[in-house]
């Protein structure tokens, strides 16, 4: 499916980051149009577009905005989530590098719609150059009255501030992000209350992903109905797919929702690297269940990917060819989650470390017959509502899906293991290998 790019239309233009270039593309016209509208009308237009959150959860953005209570004495806050940390995802960075003003315009329109006068961009700490680009863009936009006091002579006032993260995957979760803005450890909050009612500084807050906000100017300019006509009925618009791993041409590609993974992998990316066979792919960032090669004809929209047994998530497609050892791949992912668990909930803190130890043991030829059962038990005990935030599910879904589709490789590794070790399950999850084997001695 080919179509004119919407979010990435400026790619290839050398000066695309400058305000002048953005204005030439019709930039900030949508902001002017929005400000002339009633905030309620802006929300309705975004609702009509059906645009769903691009950060992973897929919640309709317009509906999220409408949850903000009206006529409250408290201020409301807008937050742009640029803490892009889901392994396999690198689209927000691309948007900031290519078209920072489009992101700012989206933030400004969203802020106007929810009557916020302060917005924060929470950007991951590693994105130093991207932070500089945004600082520069904000400064340009303020000078020309697209931001600041009295935007475009309307009397509407908005300041956008940048808040740098400092290396914590969990801060991409909206309530952890809010804690982090407040200057605390990034520990997710219990919901409800939802941020739209009690968010940052105890005030109503909307948190939207960079890509979601980047869609907003286009929706306002060309209408919600126009956006809703792209993609599928329930997954509207275009989506940025970030393809990494074993493909000829990795990168960020924009395509309508519902484009199949075959088109994305074979046409956009030139197929699997070196003409090898596809073994599996993760369709929506590392937390999404892995799918075997035979699901490649799945359309990439929220519903179809769910039907195929995974999640569209953030659109981060990780491609693996037939050389990949699945026990190794799962160990790698679990290393990530064990490192990034914030430690607040026991099932996630202990479970992620424990699962990593078990998988690492299998890969080192020390697997035991009961290990697969242990992994499944951990996955049951740390997911589906057992933890405050979805990080529990995020490490359990890879476990269950790897076992479902590639369980044979785990069984083989276990069968080939030296059978001299005891079958006693480790009671205490321990991090380092050395400590694990010490605990082993005690277990015997």
């Amino acid at each position: 499916m080919t179509m004119e790019p919407i979010l990435l239309r400026a790619r290839g233009d050398k000066n695309s980051r400058t305000l002048g270039s953005y204005l030439k593309r019709g930039g900030y016209k949508a902001l002017a149009k929005a400000i002339a509208m009633d905030p309620e009308e802006v929300i309705d237009e975004v609702k009509a577009s059906g645009v769903r959150g691009r950060g992973g959860a897929g919640f309709p953005a317009g509906v999220k905005w409408s949850f903000v209570p009206k006529d409250l004495a408290k201020p409301t806050y807008m937050i742009c989530n640029a803490d892009e940390s889901e392994p396999g995802t690198f689209k927000d960075r691309e948007l900031i590098l290519v078209d920072p003003h489009m992101v700012l315009e989206g933030i400004a329109i969203a802020s106007y719609a929810i009557d916020a006068h302060t917005a924060y961009i929470y950007i991951r700490g590693e994105f130093v150059r991207e932070t500089e680009i945004l600082v520069k863009a904000i400064s340009e936009a303020r000078r020309k009255r697209y931001l600041g006091s009295d935007i475009l002579g309307s009397g509407y006032e908005l300041e956008i501030h940048i808040h740098r993260g400092a290396g914590a995957y969990i801060c991409g979760e909206e309530t952890a992000l809010i804690e982090s803005i407040e200057g605390k450890r990034g520990l997710p909050r219990l919901k409800p209350p939802f941020p739209a009612v009690v968010g940052v500084f105890g005030c109503p807050t909307v948190v939207n992903n960079v890509e979601t906000l980047a869609c907003v100017p286009h929706i306002i300019e060309r209408g919600g109905a126009w956006f809703a006509a792209i993609g599928t009925e329930r997954s509207t618009g275009t989506k940025l797919f970030c393809v990494s791993g074993h493909v000829e041409r990795p990168g960020v590609y924009e395509a309508p929702m519902g484009t199949t993974f075959r088109e994305i992998i074979e046409e956009f990316c030139g197929g699997v690297r070196g003409g090898r066979e596809l073994k599996a792919f993760i369709p929506g960032g590392s937390s999404a269940p892995i799918l075997p090669a035979d699901r490649i004809d799945t359309p990439a929209d929220f519903e179809s990917v769910a039907e195929a047994g995974s999640m569209l998530g953030s659109g981060g497609v990780i491609v693996m060819d037939d050389t990949v050892d699945m026990v190794w791949a799962l160990e790698n992912l679990l290393t990530f989650y064990a490192h990034e668990s914030c430690g607040q909930c026991t099932p996630c803190r202990e479970g992620s470390d424990w699962a990593l130890d078990v998988v690492r043991r299998i890969r080192r030829g020390q697997g035991r017959t009961k290990d697969i059962e242990t992994l499944q038990r951990i996955a049951r005990f740390a997911s589906q509502g057992m933890t405050i935030c979805p990080l529990g599910d995020a490490f359990c879904l890879p476990i269950t899906s790897f076992l479902e589709h590639f369980g044979g490789e785990f069984e083989e590794a276990i069968a080939g293991a030296e059978q001299s070790v005891s079958t006693h399950l480790p009671v205490l999850p321990v991090r380092s290998d050395q400590a694990l084997f010490e605990a082993e001695e005690v277990g015997r």
């Binding site: 927000d92 960075r93 808040h163 200057g183 791993g245 990795p250």
Partner: protein
């Protein structure tokens, strides 16, 4: 300069100071940071960044000074600073090499880069070369998976790395 952030984001020469004090520039930056938030506690992350840009790392003394300036207990400041992996609680080398070791980078050959770096520099992850030039650390996903393998050296991403081009990059870094 805007209200949005501090520019330029530089990497400081690493200094060990017993009693850190905020000079006029830092004091004016802190005032600007405080203006962005309705609550002074929210300034903690940006002020820690400011300190790391000034002294190169976050020592116990810096945590105490920050706590005093923002009216937060030193224990609270340490709790926050130790939660986030990018605040360096020990002085790093002049060049901090952060190698992404998450799945996409690994699929594209990061382990070769890691072996090469360890051998070339004679250090393991978490260590600094004797001359104080390089610190090597393994990090989780840097969010540039399409250009794997990726290494972040101080503030910059170096992408699509091979052993050869990494050598050239390291040799091109100043003393």
């Amino acid at each position: 300069m805007t209200e949005a952030g501090t520019l330029p984001l530089t990497v400081a020469t690493v200094e060990v100071v017993e009693e850190p004090t905020f000079d006029d520039f830092m004091e004016s930056e802190i005032k600007r940071i405080l203006k962005r938030y309705p609550d002074h506690g929210a300034a903690l992350l940006p002020v820690l960044w400011l300190c790391q840009e000034r002294w190169g790392w976050i020592s116990a003394g810096i945590m105490r000074a920050v706590g005093q300036r923002l009216d937060l207990s030193p224990a609270f400041v340490e709790g926050v600073a130790s939660f986030y992996t990018m605040y360096l609680l020990r002085p790093p080398g002049k060049y901090l090499l952060q190698v992404c070791t998450t799945l996409s980078c690994q699929l594209c050959g990061t382990s070769g880069i890691v072996d090469h770096l360890k051998e070339k520099l004679g250090i393991d992850f978490g260590e600094t070369t004797k001359d104080g030039r390089f610190t090597l650390v393994d990090v989780q996903c840097l969010g540039a998976c399409g250009e794997a393998p990726v290494v972040q050296i101080n503030n910059d991403y170096y992408t699509n790395l091979t052993e050869k081009c990494l050598d050239e990059i390291l040799d091109g870094l100043g003393e």
